[in-house]
């Protein structure tokens, strides 16, 4: 890799100013959060920035705020830090599971939800979980801050909506009401250390009678970006999430998938398994929602 400069601003303002200045000077910059994807890409020559801006010393990127407004999750919070928060796991178990699935214990100590999202891999584990939860991205930049839904943040394979000089500060998840829950499942050939071959995130809200009133289903690793699958959600809404409804959602996910064949799996395999995962995740989400969410 080519040599570059390393900067670690310690406030949001300093970071915005630094990025704006480098951007004006047309110096290629790269944001460093956990770095578990980025350092590998740098070493393999896939990226060649001149300046690395480490955002881990900015307090806003490291905070986890859980309150009536929902969850505000700093972009550089590591998987290990997130998993340690039992209160977050209680409300958003699927999201925490998704973050927890990224890599080994060692990777967990570094990899961040924000970095996983910005890396914009089709197989990024947190992305379907975030989309299922209706999460939005809080972006800071030279023109001020803006907020965009996760499903439109990722625009292609390893491409996101960030403009030069912008960076992801945090993610906001809407509150988790009573009788709601999420779940995330992915398929990998081993038990750990792999990239998802297919994945599904499901979030459901049940009414007092146990009927599904709201649902969001997102699938990963079966298209250039994670997909929100409204057809799968429709199959769940208005049902008791019985076997037939979950299977209908599974079929909708399989139908929505646009997978490719590659070293990790075949097109037909991915299409089938993303349905299986959707069905299984829906059952888990249902059972969690029925299991007496606060």
């Amino acid at each position: 890799m080519e040599s570059f400069a390393y900067e670690a601003p310690d406030s949001l303002d300093a970071a915005v100013a630094l990025l704006a200045e480098r951007n004006q000077a047309s110096i290629r910059t790269q944001i460093l959060a956990g770095g578990t994807d980025m350092i590998v890409q740098l070493r393999s020559g896939d990226r060649s920035p001149r300046v690395i801006v480490d955002i881990k010393r900015i307090p806003e990127t490291r905070s986890i705020i859980l309150d009536d407004e929902g969850l505000l999750l700093g972009a550089a919070v590591s998987g290990a830090e997130l998993s340690a928060r039992d209160d977050v796991s209680a409300r958003y178990p699927g999201l925490v599971e998704a973050a927890d699935l990224i890599g080994s214990t060692q990777i967990q100590g570094r990899a961040s939800v924000g970095g996983n999202l910005c890396n914009a891999s089709p197989a990024g584990d947190t992305i379907p979980a975030l989309i299922a939860n209706g999460a939005t991205c809080l972006i800071a930049g030279p023109e001020g801050s803006r907020e965009v839904p996760v499903e439109s943040f990722v625009v292609g394979v390893q491409r996101n909506q960030l403009e030069p000089g912008e960076f992801l500060v945090a993610l906001r998840l809407p509150p988790a009401p009573p009788r709601s829950a999420d779940a995330y499942l992915r398929f990998i050939p081993r038990t750990e250390m792999d990239i998802a071959v297919a994945s599904a995130g499901v979030r459901v809200v049940l009414d007092a009678d146990g009927v599904c009133s709201e649902a969001r289903v997102a699938i990963g690793a079966v298209a250039p970006t994670a997909l929100l699958v409204p057809e799968a959600a429709h199959a769940l809404i208005g049902t008791r999430l019985d076997e037939a409804a979950c299977q209908a959602a599974a079929d909708a996910s399989s139908a929505a998938a646009r997978p490719i064949s590659d070293k990790r799996g075949t097109e037909s395999y991915r299409r089938k398994v993303v349905g299986v995962l959707t069905r299984r995740a829906a059952v888990i989400a249902r059972d969690r929602a029925l299991g007496g969410q606060a």
Binding site: Y6, V40, T105, R110
Partner: protein
């Protein structure tokens, strides 16, 4: 331009100059001559370069050296005291839980981190915690037994 880095490594204040794009693994091995930390892959997939960064287990190949400015680092060289091995190290030896030994430094650091965080891990928790430490010689059996045995000893439980 080289970057000056100052941090605490195995309890000792250390300073070094490095390239801004140097990984912590490179700096440990080439700048500080701490070659106990091994490179097996350079992509965070094997765990042979595991170190503790402010107590958190990480792959040093996925950390930039300048990132450790002002922080505390523990490498395999800092696990044993001058008087005695850490129980994990001793149990690995007693159980013959290493053959070639290249993964062993990473296993030592990772297992210590596990027992610091969870003094009574189950076999399954131990296996998942160590899933990022590839070992090609042992089939993991004796490693897992050694770590569980070390945990039991540290808890004061009967072996």
């Amino acid at each position: 331009m080289k970057q000056h880095v100052s941090s605490t490594v195995n309890g000792e204040q250390m300073e070094f100059l490095c390239e801004p794009d140097e990984t912590l693994l490179e700096a440990l091995r080439d700048r500080l001559n701490l070659t106990g930390t091994k490179e097996g892959c350079g992509t965070g997939d094997c765990g042979a370069c595991s170190v503790l960064l402010d107590g958190t287990l990480v792959c040093s190949c996925l950390v930039f050296a300048p990132e450790i400015e002002g922080r505390e680092l523990t490498t395999v060289e800092g696990i044993a005291s001058p008087e005695a091995l850490h129980p994990v190290q001793r149990k690995l030896l007693e159980h013959a839980a290493l053959q070639c030994g290249i993964c062993t430094p990473g296993v030592v650091v990772a297992a210590k981190a596990l027992l610091d965080a969870n003094p009574n891990p189950s076999e399954e928790e131990t296996r998942y915690w160590l899933a990022g430490n590839l070992c090609r010689c042992t089939g993991y059996d004796k490693i897992i037994r050694a770590v569980l045995d070390a945990a039991a000893e540290m808890r004061g439980a009967a072996p």
